[in-house]
Subunit: 151 residues, 2 copies
DNA sequence: GCGCTTGTTGCAAATCGTTTGCAAATGGAG
DNA sequence: CTCCATTTGCAAACGATTTGCAACAAGCGC
């Protein structure tokens, strides 16, 4: 799974650096939060809440706490939330300073995810915004297809 | 509302033509289905299930029937399903032969929707597919921003 | 027109993902 | 160590959507 991930993931921050980011915003560094960050750090893929919860090992922390933690981490800019075709939200750890704007190519059959560097041309986006009088325009873009193994 | 819609909507088919499409695939032309098609025809916007259900007037047809009808119409290629940032699915009537591939610019504040003709460059999409060994790659693309009235 | 067969509907209950209220537990500043 | 605001677990509430099932009706053949 991890091996199939084509995007070269930077080494990323260690747990200490991540928890430091929490502390800096005067958020408490609790066991559930550390555990969640550790899991996200181990998986460079967009993880679903269920997957995160599953890895926590039953009895470790409540599902509601996972939801609450993901909101917190999202608002702090530590993770980014994605939505694919099916199922609930998925989350990816962000490096500090990274706005997390990138896209995915998802296999319709096995859900394998590849990160994509290409992006919708920004001049085109600006033109679309201008033409319609919109401001602060961003976009959401995901690709779907059949991966080599599933064809 | 309709006036704000920038996309020149073709006259579209009348109810008779639409119901004919149902008949051709040996599906029954029932009152709920006709009512739903009529509503979709009146609104060139992506409508939510709740909006459709609301327009039906209480007592006219069950909510479950609306959900079932939308699946049917989607599978027959009569409507297209969209997902924006919040809330449930939204549906738009498709002209016959139209694959419905187009995108939207949605106001983050008032949900106003504008249709966009631009699309992600297909050469770029092909390159992404090739580079990752994927087949049958399509994409989903939506824009979000602040409309003139909401800025 | 009349019934038959099969697709369709209404209703209620189930499911899925997510959120919330509340009292008990706890991180960390002083 | 104490205190307090934040966080947690638990259970219940929620919104969107799906499903089982018995009653029903569209459109075929006669």
């Amino acid at each position: 799974m991890s091996a199939a991930h084509s995007h070269a993931q930077s080494p990323g921050e260690g747990l200490p650096e991540l928890t430091e980011r929490l502390r800096r915003k005067s958020r408490k560094v609790t066991a559930p939060r550390q555990a969640i960050l550790a899991i996200l750090r181990r998986h460079p893929h967009p993880l679903s809440i269920r997957e995160i919860f599953g890895e926590l090992g039953r009895g470790n922390c409540d599902l509601a706490t996972v939801y609450r933690s993901m909101h917190l981490l999202e608002n702090m800019g530590i993770v980014k939330r994605f939505h694919f075709e099916q199922g609930g939200a998925r989350f990816e750890l962000l490096d500090e300073g990274d706005d997390g704007h990138h896209h995915h190519l998802v296999c319709r059959s096995c859900d394998e995810v590849v990160e994509i560097e290409d992006c919708f041309p920004s001049e085109l986006e600006k033109r679309i915004a201008r033409r319609n009088g919109f401001k602060s325009v961003t976009h959401r873009l995901e690709f779907f297809g059949l991966c080599p193994r599933c064809q």
